[in-house]
Structures are given as C-alpha cells and as structure tokens.
Amino acid sequence: MVPQELIDGWLVTLMMGARIVFPILLVMTLGYWLQRKLQRADGSSVLTPNRRVMPLWYRRIMGELNALPAWLPTIGVLTAVGVTAMIFRLWVGLGASTNLNQAYPWGLWIGFDLFMVAFSGGAFTLATLVYVLQMHRFHAAIRPTVLTGLLGYTSVLVILLMDLGRWDRFYHFVIFPNINSALFEVSWCILLYTTVLITEFSPVIMQRFGWHRAMKIMQKITIPIVITGATLSTLHQSSLGTLFVIMTERLHPLWYTPLIPALFFVTSLAAGLAMVVAGATVSYWVFKRSLPQRLVGDLASFLPWILGIYLVLKFGELLGTGEIGLVWSSGYYSVLFITEILLTAVIPIAWFMSKTARASRMLSLVGAGIVLSGIFLNRFNAAWFALKPVEGYTYFPSIPEILIQMGVICGIIFVYTLVGHYLPLFEGTTKRGEEEEKRLAEPAPAPEAIQPGKAYHTS
C-alpha cells in the first residue's frame, strides 16, 4: 500500500514539474520557430545576407558567418536577449527584476551555479586522469573539456555578479576575508580556478598564433598547474556543500548532513565525467570530431564506482542518523529524494555496467544525461526545492531571471561553437567516419604495448 503522503507528494511534484517543463518547452518551440523563420531555403541565415552589391570586406565577413552552423544566429539572439535582461536587472535592482524574497533570498541562479560548477568539474577530473594518473589515451578530450569548464565557470561568475545586491563591490571578498565563511572560500577558489582554466586553455590560442616558445614553457608547467587546479576544485566543490552546513533549520533532513561537503565532491566527479561522456557525443554530431567510442566507454566505466561510493555515503549517513524512515514518510520531499537518487545513482549504475551501453554513442549520451539530470535535481533540491517552507512566502523565478539564465546558457553554446570553429580545439580527436575505417583496417586490436613516456595507462 502506497502511503497517502507519497501520492500527495507525487501530485505536488507533477504540478511543480509542469510549471518548469512547460516554460522550457515553450522557449524551445519559440526558438525553433525563430530559427525556421531566420533560415533561407539553402539553409543559410537571413541575418547573413551574401549580396554581391556589398563591399568585399562585408562579403568576407558574411562568408565566414555562413560557414558557421545555421542555428548559431538564433543562439546569438537569445544571448543578446539575456544580456538585455541583465542590464535591466542591474538598472532596476533585485526586488523589481526577480521574485526572490525574504524566505527565498536565493533561487534559480544559485541552483544553476551549484549545478554548473559540478558540471564543469569534468575539467579537473579529466586533467587529473590524463596528467596526474597519466592515462594519456584520453588526452584528445582535454581541450574541449577545459573549454567547457572555462565557459561554465565564467557563466557562474556572471550569474553571481547578477545575484549580488552590491555588485559594484564584487572585489570585496578579496580585501575583506572571513575564513569561517564557506562562501568566501568558494569565491576565492572559483576565482583562482578560473585563472587555472585560462592557463590550461592558453596552449590552444598559442598554437593558433604559432607562439611555440610560450607553448614550450606551458608544457613544462602543466603538471603543477593541473595539481593546483585539482586541489582548488576539491576545495570549492566540497565547500559548495559546506554552504548548507550552517542552514540546519532550513534544509530538509533528507538532504541536511554535516557530510554534505563530501557528497558534493563525489557527485561533482560523477557530473564531470558524465559531462565528458555527453560532450563527446554532442561534439561528434556538431563538429564531427570526437574521442573514439571505446575511450568514451572507458571513461563511462568509472561512473558506477563513483556513484556507488555516493550511494554508500548517502544511505550510510541516513542509516547512521536514523533518518532512513523519512525516505518514505516525507510526502513531497520523499518524491524529490527518490527521484533524485534514482536518476543520480541507481539507474546510471545499472546503465553503465552494461557493455552495450558503453559501446554505443547514443546510449552513453542518454546515460550521461540521466546522471546530469539527477545531479541537477540534487543541486536544485539543496538550493530551492528541499528548503522547508516559510509561512506566507513562495518562490518561482520571474521572467527576467529566466531570460538571464537562458541568455547565459546560450552564451556558453555561442562562444563554444565559435571557438570550435576557429581554434584548434579538437586536435588529436578522431574524425567522424575515421573510427570505423580504422577498425576495418586493423581488425584485431593490438595488445597494449608499454611505450616510454606515453600511451601507458594504469586501470
């Protein structure tokens, strides 16, 4: 017999889900419609006219633009809408532009920041695997992953700036430290780690412009930079969890635990790897270049282990504190919790234990998507859904909040596509089609030989 509370919980969650899913569908439909409107019969965008009457420089620029994906102008327009909404928010203040209030002073933006940092955790996870644990076979995925991380962290910084009441004083955390504050540690680490990511990404730019001496220097300092980056990531990925340690009275006991920093760190490893796995398939479609699926499958095979550790920690804590009963008896919160655990850990563990799933690009993408959606829900639960209600207050993001959020996400896609188009981002990756040819050429995979300095791995 299903308890009545659980049924009520499902209803409330469904209602809430509808309020979130419906606007997203609406925006996607609008975007699709806009893209169709902006497209000529030959697939080029109307925003990029290629008329012979135009001067040569104009035709050259337009020629460049026409070589880019046809959906890019749409993404650009949505980014511009987001930037406009940002200016509006900075102009009128937080009260007039957002639905944040006394009981929900943080909302959509902080939830996004928490998720985005975990998502960008792929950069440090992969860099550690490749440079520290010296699994050089994954090397080709480093550049796209570091770029995703860099853009992710930049978007987090932009959103944080929007979220500050006195955004003009953003530098205060540098000059007025409070060592007891988790948010202070997070701010410092994010700032330093963004610098690390810029350094890690700089060889791409150096290579594009042929600065070979600078590249040599970069190669020498790669290892210390990567170790610094991984250490900073360990600190702030866990400190984002520490943010909630002080919220004893606000966060529901199913989520509240002094262990939350460790849980955040472990899930950030999983989110990072899932990001690399999903990214490999997406870049296979969009840029027609990617890691061979065999290596993507290798990366995915780490996921069941990490998520297994997460499950043990999470349920160990619930059993230890005797809160395990709450899993079934908390109504709305139970539904959130069960959905979250299923998506984050239970389904993906089973999914990625299957060889078939790891061998298929499509199935790997879906599996990684399930992990990411679970961790997305986990971060939003901590920041918004699983907060105990306060009488007289509700929160649902306002239109400017959603537009800014959408603009930032579109901005990431926009910049990423441009970088992928103009910079040597996919160096060392396999071209679409090559993978199959190679497999046909050498039917029996050669046993992995030990080669000095490269191509040797430990797993």
């Binding site: 102009w91 203040g93 937080l94 007039a96 944040l100 006394q102 009981a103 002073p105 943080w106 550690t128 440079y131 520290v132 644990l133 010296q134 500050l164 009441g165 006195r166 955004w167 003009d168 004083r169 205060h172 955390f173 540098v174 007025f176 430290p177 409070n178 060592i179 007891n180 504050s181 988790a182 948010l183 202070f184 410092w188 330093l192 290892i223 210390p224 930079i225 170790i227 610094t228 991984a230 250490t231 900073l232 360990t234 600190l235 866990s238 520490t242 943010l243 340690v245 002080i246 919220m247 004893t248 009275e249 606000r250 002094p258 920093p261 030990i450 000095p452 300095g453 040797y456 430990t458």
Partner: protein, 301 residues
C-alpha cells in the same frame, strides 16, 4: 632517475607555492578582538523581553525606527529593511472563532555564537565582545547568505533599491557604547524590556519564573537555543505556540567552523597525494621502459 625526483620536487614546490597565493592560507588581516566568537562569554550584555508585560503599543518599534533615521511606521508588521524591530501580533488560539492575540517583539537575537557572522563572505557581520552582532554596511556585498544562515530568519534585504544591502537590529551598539540604553528598552512604557548583563538577566528571569508561581512557562527562550542568544524571552504560554522555532542547543557555527578549519589540511593532503601519485606512476613507467630493468625482472626471477 635523479631528474625525475628533482622534477617531482619542483612540481610539489610549485603546486604548494601556487596554492599559497590564496589568501585563505595566509592569516587574514583582522582588527583585533572583533572576529573572535566568545564561547562562554564572561560578560555579555543583553535584553530580557517579558512578553507577559508587553501591551503591544509599538513604542519600541517607533523608537527603533527613529534611532536608525528611518520613517516611523507603526503599521509595519513583519521584519523588513525599514523596520529592524517589530511587534508581531500572533494568534495562539486554535479556534478561529475566538482569536487570542499575543504581541511579540521580534528583532535580531544577537546570538552568542551567531551563524550569520560565520556565513558572511566579507566579514561585514561581526560579534562584539559586549554582546551586539554589528553590521558594517560599507563591506556588505549583498550576497544574502546571512539570511539563509540565520535560524530565526532575521536579516532583511533592501529589495526595492537599485543597490541593496542587509538590515538588522544591532542592539543599538553605538548607543550602548555611549552609555545609553537601546532605543527600544528606553521607549518601553510597560517595563517589558530590561537591559543588562546577560548572566544577571538570566538570574532575574529565573527569579520571575519562581515568583510568578505558574504565571510563566519554565523556559527562558534564548538561554541555550543555538548556543545561546543575548535577547532572552519570558512567556506565559509554550514558545512553540507563540511561533518561536524549536532549536537545538548546539550552534551550527561550530560545525561550520570545524569543517572550514580543515580546509588547509584537505588542500595540502590533496596536493601531496596527487603529486605523489604522479611521481610514482611516472617512475614506474620509466623503470619499466629501461631494457636492463626489464631484463632483470624477467631473467632474474
């Protein structure tokens, strides 16, 4: 081999040096005496609020607003940026037909171990040894973490402004330092508010409970809650009924401090572990790549 070791040491040194850039590992520049949280305060001032004496006249609210140069607005019923202290009217009757209204003065509790002071990113909120939790509006960046950290939901935000800050009661730190009473205590016509040393206030409160012979519930709200507060409450009905949150005696600020203070250990441990792993794997690869070594391995055993 020697080169490898030197490379490893270099890598370690550089990592640690790069980490050292973070100011968190350097002792922060603090004004002496302001940041420390007194664990068992020797002498901390506070206010005893006897809700049974309160008549709900809102003189405290008006006096507070005047002392903070805010427009006097007795109609304000919830804590907000223009009213750091309010008198809330709470219905304690379960029967909607016969409401029983109790006036409750609400303001910052000025905790002994305040969560907001731990949370504040820029140290704009600080605990003074005299008792008040003070707020430096010149530091605040408006991140609103204190609003989540506070178990009483006290700090409020200036939502309506273009550039918004936090606002909260600071137990009239400036007035009390000048030897005056807090504005609300001075204004109360019903003598429901008493200002003084927290220990003495607890004695007075216990005396009143004893003398009242059942008039009061045997609970001084704020004596132990969340590590103790300097604003203490007496009431004639259980505090849950009056809408006061039921809180544990442990201060979350302490758990937070334990975790935050382990940061340098975690950082150093992680950096050393990663450097060590790098060195080990590389050295093993190098040894295995040497033909002589391999020969020994295979031939010798």
């Amino acid at each position: 081999m020697a080169l490898t070791r030197r490379g490893f040491l270099k890598a370690c040194g550089a990592s640690v040096a790069a980490l050292g850039v973070g100011a968190k590992f350097a002792p922060p520049a603090l004004e002496p005496g302001t940041r420390s949280v007194p664990k068992s305060p020797q002498k901390t001032n506070g206010v005893l609020i006897d809700t049974t004496k309160c008549v709900g006249c809102k003189q405290c609210q008006i006096a507070c607003q005047k002392s903070k140069n805010l427009p006097a607005d007795p109609k304000q019923v919830t804590l907000c940026a223009v009213s750091p202290s309010v008198v809330e009217l709470r219905n304690i009757s379960a029967d909607p037909a016969k409401p029983e209204i109790k006036p409750i003065k609400r303001q910052c509790m000025n905790c002994v171990e305040p969560s907001c002071v731990s949370a504040c990113t820029v140290g704009a909120l600080q605990k003074t040894p005299e008792g008040p939790v003070i707020y430096d509006s010149n530091r605040c960046i408006g991140c609103r973490y204190c609003m989540y950290a506070c178990p009483f939901g006290v700090p409020t935000f200036e939502w309506e402004k273009q550039f918004s800050l936090i606002s909260k009661c600071d137990q009239c730190a400036e007035r009390t330092q000048a030897g005056k009473l807090p504005a609300c205590v001075e204004a109360c016509p019903a003598k429901a508010l008493t200002y003084g040393d927290r220990k003495e206030l607890l004695t007075i409160a216990n005396q009143r409970i004893y003398d009242g012979k059942g008039k009061y519930v045997e609970h001084i709200y704020g004596e132990n809650e969340i590590g103790g507060t300097t604003m203490l409450y007496l009431a004639s009905v259980p505090f849950e009924k009056l809408g006061f949150p039921t809180l544990p005696n442990e201060a979350p600020a302490e758990i937070n401090a334990t975790i935050m203070h382990s940061t340098p250990t975690v950082a150093l441990g992680m950096a050393m572990a990663l450097s060590g792993m790098y060195w080990l794997i590389r050295r093993r690869d190098e040894l295995e790549a040497q033909p002589a070594y391999n020969h020994n391995e295979e031939g010798g055993h």
